[in-house]
């Protein structure tokens, strides 16, 4: 499904995302030890591509919030 050209570019993208680490075994691609590969750790933090901001940049106000009402019910507000 992946063409030759796409494959080369995917490898380039992964170089930027994962710093050149192997995808397999799962633990080496930024994943955590588990029975499944890193890609299935879909809720886990991404540790390779750090989250520390390097620069002050413009921001956008993201108004979507999940509200917990006093009766415990969760509701999206935008």
């Amino acid at each position: 499904m992946i063409s030759q050209k796409e494959m080369l570019n995917i490898i380039c993208t992964e170089a930027i995302e994962y710093g050149g680490l192997q995808e397999l075994p799962g633990q080496q691609h930024g994943g955590k030890t588990s029975f499944h590969s890193a890609k299935r750790e879909s809720r886990g933090p991404e540790e390779i591509n750090g989250s520390r901001p390097e620069s002050d940049s413009s921001t956008v106000q993201y108004d979507l919030r999940l509200i917990r009402k006093t009766n415990g019910i969760l509701q999206w507000k935008d």
């Binding site: 796409e6 995808e23 397999l24 901001p53 979507l64 999940l66």
Partner: protein
């Protein structure tokens, strides 16, 4: 219940002397005997091929006089031809296997073997004449076919390099390629095309590595260059590893059988080459269908030009008209199918193999099935249908590459570029009055919006606490994308699997998912995530707002769970799923559901393709419908053999899975049924 599976065992007694036995004892007993006697034993399961309804398996032969091994590449078809030429007393001596030696005759003379071999169309043959159950390896008769290759191939030029580090990998890859080239020439000729593509890829990587070398020494950008060079090395390592698996799993068990040993100890005699061929055919079938329209080409040529209004407000999301998956004339065309030819000219095929460690998994270059599926593919947790999900990961890689990917030509070290961030900001700010935006931008924004929403999901705000929205910088959006894109990827994969492979059949899909997920660890560890993945998938295309869509999906879930329990498939997880979708806990499930439904339904709008769907022969009617006999038309009756018709591996595997889920398997011998399924698919 009688066991149908038999085991063919060889025990080395001297350099050229082996004892050959057939038994119906368990493989554990065989291993125990070997330990007790301190001898080298090799064995493989073999299955009686010709069964009679209501009669049980044929008896185990009490005496072995010969073993003939036929290396038929399409054993299901070959057996169909042979069956009509067999005498009644010969039928119980015909077996099939999961190895490259796919058909076995027990106790046939060499003369009769050669007759049948010729009738079956000819294939490599190995004949073991036995005396008192003993084989003198020097007396084995071999027949190889003359090579059909006219002259040497001129399109295979192995990569070369002067770089000492690369040389290590290039040598490994070249060595695997030459082994596979020789083996595929005999046992799997179609797969030589895969090797051609791997050669091109390996050469491209070596060339690209060479171009990076100038940049590595720079003080500015040197590290970025080195990371890219490392990524190329990593890719070469992974290709080399995948090819090694292809060699060890796909070529062992070739002629002469006694001179090699399969890496799977429970298939040490004959190997698993036939089962690997089945995995590969299954994979190629889906890959071939998706060649009809390249996602990358549609996104870059059409979606970068066409503008559409795509909603940004997740709580207000409404799906629009209900989506009907029909092929009737006049049914609406899809966005994805517009814009002329987007045929994919080439591809790097996935190398398919089994893996105990990875189970069902996909990586850039390979796709694996759980090794347990060699023994018990008929159990829901190891059904081949799970493989389709993994193969769809490959398709979704191309979508993410087209939307977010980098190229070697441009220097950009952020996952989300500045211009992409600005487009996202403008789109979010205009959500109350949405305007038409290029589809490529909209799709990117929808995924980023999803990632931001999932982050909010994890941090609900008490209603009495006044808090403005989250200020998102470019760095923060990069972080959230990086953190949550894996979930977005899974959701896109679910859509592709559900739409293209399961023909949008909600109950079948729901039952299939949960019958397999209750047997693996992750859904127990992260139940809410798996719950909302399953709910969002079957809700997609429902044409409902988020609240009604959740109710609709929940109903399918509960119905599916009850049906599974009805056939004895139970799990404590089912109670947990019911708890999570009822009472107070339900509001959390609804909250999790909404961003997923928003994402998958938008993906459905732009990636549904009737052109591709028409290339995949599936079960497109509900097999659970009352009175349906639909499945019976598409499973191979184990008492007859195909007569030349072509079976879709997808339709066949789905029908088999349905039989499992509805408790309609013909008998309780997973190994026999598993080998049968592989034999049919591999043919």
């Amino acid at each position: 219940m009688a066991s149908y599976t038999r085991y063919l065992t060889t025990t080395a007694k001297a350099v050229n002397e082996f004892t050959v036995q057939i038994s119906d004892s368990s493989p554990i007993a065989i291993a125990q005997d070997a330990i007790r006697n301190s001898c080298e034993v090799k064995y493989s399961p073999i299955m009686p091929a010709i069964l009679t309804p209501q009669e049980g398996p044929p008896p185990v032969p009490t005496k072995l006089e010969s073993v003939a091994l036929l290396f038929a590449n399409s054993p299901y078809k070959t057996l169909g031809i042979l069956k009509t030429h067999l005498f009644a007393n010969e039928r119980s001596g015909i077996y099939f296997t999961e190895g490259l030696a796919s058909i076995i005759f027990l106790n046939f003379t060499i003369k009769r073997t050669k007759q049948l071999h010729k009738i079956g169309g000819g294939c490599p043959l190995e004949y073991w004449p036995l005396k008192d159950g003993k084989l003198d390896a020097r007396r084995i008769i071999f027949e190889l076919l003359p090579s059909k290759q006219a002259g040497a191939p001129n399109d295979i030029i192995l990569p070369s390099t002067d770089n000492a580090e690369l040389k290590v990998y290039v040598e490994q890859i070249s060595s695997s390629l030459q082994s596979l080239w020789a083996s595929y020439g005999i046992y799997f000729p179609d797969e030589r095309d895969t090797l051609r593509q791997i050669v091109i890829l390996a050469d491209n990587l070596v060339q690209q590595h060479g171009r990076l070398q100038g940049g590595v020494g720079r003080t500015d950008g040197g590290i970025a260059c080195q990371k890219k060079a490392n990524a190329i090395i990593s890719a070469l390592v992974e290709i080399s590893a995948a090819l090694s698996y292809a060699v060890t799993q796909g070529t062992t068990g070739s002629l002469p059988v006694l001179s090699n040993r399969s890496p799977f100890p429970h298939h040490s005699l004959l190997g698993i080459g036939g089962a690997v061929r089945a995995l590969t055919k299954y994979t190629r079938y889906l890959e071939s269908a998706f060649m009809a329209r390249s996602a990358g080409k549609v996104i870059s040529a059409q979606y970068s030009r066409v503008k559409q209004i795509v909603p940004a407000s997740i709580p207000a999301y409404n799906s629009g008209p209900e989506y009907k998956f029909t092929d009737s004339p006049g049914s609406p065309d899809e966005h994805f199918d517009r814009g002329g030819n987007s045929y994919q000219e080439d591809q790097v095929p996935l190398i398919a193999h089994f893996s105990l460690r990875y189970g069902f998994m996909e990586s850039k270059f390979s796709v694996t099935a759980a090794s347990q599926a060699l023994t018990a593919e008929t159990l829901p947790q190891w059904t081949l249908m799970t493989l389709s999900h993994e193969i769809m990961h490959s398709r979704v890689r191309t979508i993410f590459q087209a939307l977010f990917g980098k190229t070697w030509e441009k220097d950009d070290n952020n996952l989300i570029s500045k211009s992409q961030f600005k487009e996202f900001c403008a789109w979010i700010q205009a959500r109350k009055n949405p305007r038409k935006v290029r589809v490529v931008t909209s799709l990117r924004n929808v995924i980023l919006n999803f990632c931001c929403a999932v982050e909010q999901c994890q941090h609900p705000i008490p209603a009495n606490k006044r808090r403005p929205g989250l200020p998102l910088s470019m760095d923060k959006v990069n972080e959230l994308y990086s953190r949550h894109k894996h979930l977005a990827i899974e959701i896109l994969v679910h859509f592709h699997d559900y739409y293209f492979v399961y023909a949008c059949q909600p109950k079948m899909y729901m039952m299939s998912l949960w019958a397999s997920w209750i047997k693996v660890a992750a859904p127990y560890a992260r139940t809410p995530e798996y719950l909302m993945r399953s709910l969002a998938t079957v809700a997609c295309g429902s044409g409902l707002n988020s609240i009604a869509a959740f109710d609709h999906a929940k109903e399918i879930l509960l119905d599916g769970l009850a049906s599974l329990e009805g056939v004895g498939i139970r799990s404590p997880l089912f109670s947990e799923l019911r708890r999570l979708t009822s009472t107070v806990a339900e509001s959390a499930a609804r909250a999790d559901f909404q961003p997923c439904y928003y994402l998958i339904d938008t993906v459905r709008r732009f990636f549904a393709s009737r052109t591709i769907a028409s290339k995949i022969d599936r079960l497109d009617c509900d097999p659970f419908a009352e009175g349906s006999t639909f499945v019976d038309d598409y499973t191979a009756n184990i008492y007859v053999f195909g007569e030349g018709q072509t079976l879709s591996p997808i339709r066949y595997s789905l029908a088999t899975l349905f039989k499992t889920l509805s408790g309609r398997l013909p008998f309780d011998d997973p190994q026999w049924l598993t080998a049968w399924n592989y034999m049919v698919i591999s043919s």
